[in-house]
Symmetry: C2
Subunit: 498 residues, 2 copies
């Protein structure tokens, strides 16, 4: 990443800045346009904090009509646009560009409708993830996907990144919990996708938008599924002498037909860092710790707790504590939820990676990571959604030691290559953004990438939306677009080579 090349700023756009600011001010009057450098500093990076960039100008619309007019203006005048929610992206997805308007959706912060009989909530995209749960919890409901940043991250950002969380093993990612979207195309046209019903005819553009990282359109309304809170939730905290046995325990639980509400693993460095920080009572003599939560009616939960305990015993668990109260359950989770800041206390800097692998490859990948750790001379702490096969290795480094950031990035890239090699993917829930952009060819060949870019072109043929993110190369529409020219009468040209 330290070698990241972002698209060169367009000099013509830069020189037209005054004109662009005036046009945006005409669309969003009052305090909706921020063009003073000091005020723009608040927006210069997202949660991938190694990168900073001031935008051309910041605009904060309040109505769908304003979003439509802004996008139409940008489209007609060839101005780039970076959409942004709360700016908590871990992959640089909301990183501004020097020559792009930063379109901040934080003023779209209203809950529009809560429909309990149909179990859905209709909200604006700037509402926070936790804000949805807060709005329905008095009726015993909640919104299931729960990224660690849920207090701050917006539901619009969750849609852009297809965010996950601890409960996604059982309740699905954002994609499984979003039923409808209203979005504005770069042309300014407004499209509605899905609704309160199951499935829909036509292409699954709702699924396509979810996880599209701000490259296809700007979401202005989200309809999400809300779930009734389970009657009971209890957790087990199980220690293992090796990561391999913990991994096998995870596989056996799933193979037994049990889908826990959450099933998280931490390795020794993560356990020690978390225990030092929050004193959750974690065992310090183990190599791996599983936190397994079962939820549902009490009678079911108690039955499943017994089953999981037996499976853990069969896999050589060295300790097993079962929560006896809601307070104890929360304590088990406290360490896990604080693992990132805890690791921040034992190392000046860390890099959080996000790969996903088929579950059974876990021991192999952990062994490979240990070898890489020795090769690079950098420590790694592992915290992950074990049930999903979604790893979050934290690479510890010190930015003040020359070359360590570069080494950490190379280490991280090697971990992701390893994930791909065993049949996994580059990201589980953090997105590609700028961070993993240049690794996309590790995963996709030229045919795959060209087809993805053709889909991008079908939404945004000028590549004005969030350019420089996700795809390793830009400006391919025109070339791939040659096939569209002659009214379908000429043979398909060869796809240009990368």
């Amino acid at each position: 990443m330290s070698g990241l090349v972002m698209p060169k700023a367009d000099a013509a756009t830069m020189s037209r800045r005054t004109e662009i600011v005036a046009a945006l001010q005409a669309i969003v009057p009052g305090e909706g346009v921020v063009d003073i450098t000091n005020e723009m500093r608040a927006f210069e990076s997202d949660a991938l904090t190694a990168y900073h960039q001031l935008p051309l100008v910041v605009v904060l619309p309040q109505t769908v009509r304003q979003v439509s007019q802004i996008l139409k203006y940008c489209h007609d005048n060839n101005v780039k646009v970076v959409p942004r929610g709360s700016g908590t992206s871990l992959s640089g997805g909301a990183l501004p560009l020097e020559d792009a308007v930063l379109l901040v959706m934080s003023r779209f912060n209203r809950i529009l409708e809560i429909d309990y009989p149909n179990r859905v909530a209709v909200v604006q995209p700037g509402v926070t993830n936790l804000g949805i749960t807060k709005a329905v919890e008095h009726e015993g409901f909640y919104y299931a996907p729960d990224p660690s940043s849920q207090i701050a991250c917006s539901i619009g950002g969750n849609v852009a990144e297809n965010s996950g969380g601890v409960h996604c093993l059982k309740y699905g990612l954002t994609a499984n919990n979003v039923l409808g979207l209203e979005m504005v195309l770069i042309s300014g046209e407004v499209v509605r996708l899905g609704g309160k019903h199951l499935d829909s005819e036509g292409y699954d553009l709702l699924g396509l938008m979810t996880g599209s990282e701000g490259l296809l359109g700007v979401v202005t309304e989200v309809t999400v599924r809300i779930l009734q809170k389970p009657a009971t939730a209890r957790a087990l905290m199980v220690g293992f002498p090796t990561s391999e046995t913990a991994g096998q325990c995870v596989a056996d639980i799933i193979a037994a037909g049990i889908i826990p509400g959450g099933m998280e693993m931490m390795d020794r460095p993560a356990i020690h860092a978390a225990e030092d920080f929050v004193h959750a009572g974690y065992p310090l003599d183990v190599e791996a710790l599983l936190i397994i939560e079962l939820d549902g009616p009490a009678v079911e939960v108690n039955h499943l707790i017994d089953m999981v305990e037996k499976i853990a015993g069969k896999n050589g668990a060295s300790s097993c504590v079962i929560s006896q109260s809601e307070e104890e359950r929360m304590t088990f989770w406290a360490g896990r939820k604080a693992a990132f800041p805890a690791v921040g206390r034992i190392s000046p800097d860390y890099l959080c990676m996000d790969g996903t692998i088929p579950r059974k490859e876990l021991p192999q990948v952990l062994a490979g990571m240990r070898a890489l750790s020795e090769k690079y001379g950098l420590r790694v702490a592992n915290v992950f959604h074990a049930g999903d096969g979604n790893l979050h290795p934290l690479i510890l480094y010190d930015a003040n030691i020359p070359d360590q950031l570069r080494k950490a990035e190379d280490f991280g890239a090697d971990i992701l290559r390893l994930c791909v090699k065993v049949g996994g993917v580059l990201t589980g829930e953090h997105g590609v953004g700028v961070e993993k952009r240049d690794l996309m060819p590790e995963m996709f060949n030229e045919i795959d990438l060209n087809q993805q870019i053709r889909v991008k072109c079908a939404f945004d043929d000028k590549h004005l939306l969030n350019p420089g993110k996700v795809f390793p190369q830009l400006h391919r529409c025109a070339e791939l677009g040659r096939m569209h020219v002659h009214r379908g009468q000429v043979p398909f040209p060869d796809i240009p080579r990368f």
Copy 2:
């Protein structure tokens, strides 16, 4: 539908038939090309039996390479292609065209890999839905989505239609159970989407392909999730004096946080027809019958059965029988599963509709349907996936009475319009195909349809794949494609009007 206009056959293609047949024979030697009229009759319709059409020629490839060569040949020579699995589509999705090659995937019938630790099976698209379960059931696993045609329908067809079934309420549609695809683009290029892992970076083309009705590419390999069979399954058969109370019972069960393995409703005409046919012991003095199945560990199932029984009682159920044996459970289902042929016994012909509505609108839609039944003078029997809000009204008519088919079709279209009006959609699981093609503008405006067609163009800009299906108008790529011409430097043109 009786007024359906299909795209006019291309005279140039028709006159080149000998040349096309020879080219296909060179790609697929032996018995892989069928061009004799009598032999082609086997392929002239799908399960929307009111329509028949002989194809230009039938080709049955056996390898991915052959599929790639066939599509490349068709693309280079502007020949239309209709992909087909087992031909069980209820919406005419696999209906041949006079001037199109019918690409039949039935020889892709091998199970390639069963990976129990990762709980996935990798199969060729011609494997039947039930064939997957058959291949893994000795190990206690099964494939969850179970359309009524599961003994015959192919998994490739399931992907094309995003098929559902009785168990989709709890376990999801095809889209929720497919993890990976290999597909061939119309250019002949081979793309791999997803795999054995959760989620993926890049656009969700896997989701986009699922339910794309053969218009975007030809699937040559499918990776599906397999589930462990639940330890126990029990069913309740509950009768109600009105459809409204039955509908409220469904809503209350869901609101209580219970997700049954299946929750099906039948109305009086369907109950009587089914009971006369299979003698399942259905009560004949009720207006609506619910069959509700709970599955999981015995301790959970018994607890949930109690809860459901109480909820049914509170909603005024007039009868409630709980299965005491596996045999009794199967008897409860026998009537439901035979409902379509049972209705076939009480009416010379019937039309099976497929709309989906928000669950709480059920009473309103049922009342609307009764009014329409009087208006058209035609009976309607209702069988539906109540938990999903997915209705299957069966309109009874006699094709031998002049004008009754047209009346039945108008009645069906009015039912679907009613579904859309209350916030629902035109189809739950049968697809748009040719049947609902001309109703798409009821659901989507011009902006929506144009964006869908732009996506279609990103895969198949000449509209060679399954033309005449899904979209009410064809040949829009060239017009919409004008925006692609000038290398992104001209303003966005107005979208042409429909």
